[in-house]
């Protein structure tokens, strides 16, 4: 992974000093609330319902065991002993004191971490596939490009005060695991016919109040021009994006208003001035970053003998077999596996993890996976380089930690925002809804029979739980001061990007598990053999689901 040099470290320490000074001036009354607001947001600090929330950046989701231990220390020392994995691969602390934040940032800087641009109207953390570098369906490791984008976007002087937040994701695989079509800019890495890296650039995607699938704006951008082309897009947006209404300020609204062709033309005009300019990438610069992401030196293993051993372990423990089938994935290197640590056991807020678990995970990463970890868009944690001979002992260890629930990708593995329990923006709670569904559908065999279902839950229109793109989406709404929930079906955050359709009138919190049951019963009735939930929906549409749910509800 990328290793900080003295320049990166110096930049971070200067940032800590800057924010310490800003916080002191704020506490001394020299900065007003509105002046301090963007400063603290660009350090990931929100003022929430009960306490501030601090979002720590994990560039493209990748971090190491030493960083994990420091995060555990922060959770213990400054917070209530836990943290939360967000859908954009970051960590969130829910209970820091404002006065402590400069010290927390200093502690983070000690392990080359920070909270820069994790919030605010600026370029946010660059996200990508959590299996980058080890996925079999990958064109090329996207992380060096993400790192180049990280450096370019960090403290970019022109784009610190955009009309609204700006999210960039990169995809380099056949299966999209980064939801890149739902980002302000989605970059898809491809190769031209000579094997040279190039990019497809999509613009104007996003969720929130107005969910939009991004549109293609450049189909074969040579790699040298990645930064200048994105700079041209950002400049057009910075100059022309709406600033009079925060709900119409995202780039998706501008692209829609102008039309993608007119927008592209405007970008081309800007780009003509800076194309080939000083932010053009050289092969030396790219190589230098790529050197940080060389594949590890995998020892040669006899894959077939390891598979025989796994087969006998499977017989020994059906639980192990189930976990192996559900929570591990094929690695591009023979003899290795990708392991997901499941952060969605019933009764725990989805994506939450304790300091004790974090320390233990750090040890396991050192022992079994090259000391590295990844946060996923699905709010789980990945050990990406586990030798197959270690799977049994790793499983025993994580099972003891409560991180081996074999539910990856099933109904009981929802994406879920912190909701009304924590968030000041939320209209409704989301965590209890997730838990009620997990409790009702706790029979794993039933869940496996249903097959993969993305259940996404947001506590408000801001859509942090990505409800629009869940196969089943749940949105908390406020109805005359009472919490209600709207259901949508048919969203898709993968390649076949789709926005879910609203089923009908909303329900009370108590009704939701039964409504979900009616939806699932309908699916079981009308599905064809081997047909996934989302495919059945595609075939039959909302009708049968609607009929069942609203008849039963009467």
């Amino acid at each position: 992974m990328y290793q900080y040099d003295s320049i990166d470290k110096q930049l971070l320490s200067e940032r800590v000093a800057q924010f310490r000074d800003q916080t002191q001036r704020y506490l001394a009354g020299e900065l007003s609330d509105s002046e301090f607001l963007p400063l603290r947001l660009q350090n990931g600090l929100y003022i929430q319902r009960l306490a501030p929330m601090l979002r720590v950046a994990v560039p493209y989701g990748l971090y190491d065991s030493a960083q994990m231990r420091q995060l555990a220390y922060i959770a213990r020392h400054y917070d209530k002993g836990y943290t939360h994995v967000s859908t954009r691969q970051n960590f969130q602390f829910n209970w820091p004191r404002l006065e402590d934040v400069p010290d927390i940032l200093a502690d983070l800087a000690d392990v080359d971490m920070h909270a820069i641009q994790t919030s605010g109207n600026c370029i946010r953390n660059i996200t990508t596939d959590q299996y980058a570098g080890v996925a079999a369906d990958e064109v090329e490791d996207p992380r060096p490009w993400c790192e180049l984008l990280r450096q370019w976007s960090t403290f970019h002087p022109e784009f610190a005060l955009l009309p609204r937040k700006f999210k960039i994701a990169m995809c380099a695989t056949v299966d999209d695991r980064a939801a890149f079509q739902f980002h302000d800019i989605g970059v898809e890495l491809t190769h031209d016919d000579k094997g040279q890296t190039q990019f497809k650039v999509y613009v104007g995607g996003g969720l929130g109040r107005t969910p939009v699938i991004a549109q293609l704006i450049h189909s074969e951008l040579p790699w040298q021009h990645l930064l200048t082309y994105l700079e041209a897009i950002l400049r057009v947006y910075n100059m022309h994006g709406r600033r009079d209404n925060k709900y119409k300020a995202r780039i998706k609204i501008l692209v829609k208003a102008m039309g993608v062709d007119a927008f592209r033309e405007k970008v081309e005009q800007e780009w003509a001035h800076i194309r080939g300019g000083s932010n053009t990438l050289s092969s030396a610069a790219v190589e230098k970053v790529k050197n940080h992401f060389q594949p590890i030196d995998y020892p040669q293993h006899d894959d077939s003998s390891m598979n025989r051993e796994l087969a006998s372990q499977r017989l020994e423990s059906p639980e192990f077999a189930r976990w192996l089938d559900k929570n591990t994935l094929a690695h591009k290197q023979a003899g290795y596996a990708i392991v997901n640590l499941a952060l969605k056991p019933t009764g725990i807020a989805p994506g939450d993890i304790t300091d004790v678990q974090m320390d233990a995970i750090a040890d396991l990463a050192d022992q079994y996976s090259n000391g590295q970890l990844r946060n996923t868009h699905h709010q789980n944690i990945v050990l990406a380089d586990v030798c197959k001979t270690d799977l049994w002992s790793l499983w025993r260890a994580i099972d003891a930690l409560g991180l081996a629930t074999p539910n990856l990708g099933y109904l009981s593995d929802p994406i879920c925002c912190p909701g009304g329990d924590y968030c000041a923006l939320a209209n409704a709670k989301s965590i209890p809804v997730a838990e009620a569904i997990q409790r009702k559908f706790d029979d794993m065999d039933y869940l496996y029979d249903l097959g993969p279902i993305d259940l996404n839950i947001s506590g408000c229109m801001n859509a942090c739980g990505h409800h629009h793109v869940g196969h089943i989406g749940i949105l908390g709404v406020d109805k005359k001061g009472r919490e209600f929930y709207q259901i949508s079906l048919g969203g898709n955050m993968g390649r076949a990007a789709a926005i879910g359709k609203i089923l009908g009138p909303s329900f009370s919190q108590e009704e939701i598990p039964d409504v979900i049951e009616n939806i699932l019963d309908t699916y079981i009735e009308v599905r064809q053999p081997e047909e996934m939930f989302v495919d059945t929906y595609q075939r039959v549409g909302l009708g049968p689901f609607k009929e069942r749910v609203y008849v039963k509800a009467d």
């Binding site: 320049i7 960090t154 403290f155 002087p157 001035h273 990438l281 610069a285």
Partner: protein
């Protein structure tokens, strides 16, 4: 007389900012007073103002450089704003005849002026004084400077000596901008 940061120093501000909607201050101009006119006022009177070393102009946050400078050179004033973006390069001489250009930040969180500054420096080749005016505060100075501003009219209720610190928040940068073209050992 108010104070101003110019370059890295605090100096007295000698320029008078003329507000939007004002009459052309003919007497002051004739007397050699230093004035900064709203772009529109300057443009409508450009025949008598051209080459006057004591008259600068300021752009408001919704007035991108193309609208002002294209019309200064294209001269056929019948075009609407959208069509005037035709040839920013042809305006190069015009903006460099100005002794001062200012860009207004009605609120510091309106970041359009950063892009305007870069365009003035990069596309229009403007080399003169580029001043940030309006809600100009310490915590944005570092970015202003990187985008090509070289003078800063700090909001009058703030301590300009303290604000000066904002120019030195960071000693290194990741990406090239107006101030640093190729950051050492960085990506580009």
């Amino acid at each position: 007389m108010s104070k101003l940061i110019k370059g890295c120093e605090i100096i007295d501000s000698n320029w008078t900012l003329i507000e939007q909607g004002s009459e052309l201050p003919l007497q002051a101009i004739a007397a050699g007073d230093l004035v900064i006119l709203p772009a529109h006022l300057w443009l409508t009177n450009q025949d008598i103002l051209r080459d006057k070393a004591n008259v600068g102009l300021w752009l408001d946050s919704h007035e991108e450089p193309a609208t002002a400078f294209a019309s200064a050179t294209v001269n056929s004033s019948n075009q609407d704003e959208g069509e005037q973006a035709s040839g920013p390069d042809s305006a190069l001489l015009d903006c460099n005849t100005l002794p001062l250009i200012a860009i207004n930040f009605p609120v510091f969180s309106d970041g359009r002026g950063y892009s305007y500054a870069r365009q003035l420096r990069e596309y229009y080749g403007y080399t003169g004084e580029l001043r940030a005016i309006g809600d100009v505060l310490q915590d944005q100075l570092f970015f202003y400077q990187r985008c090509g501003f070289n003078s800063f009219a700090i909001r009058s209720d703030r301590n300009v000596d303290e604000a000066l610190n904002g120019l030195n928040d960071f000693s290194i940068t990741y990406q090239s901008a107006i101030d640093v073209k190729r950051p050492e050992s960085r990506s580009s």
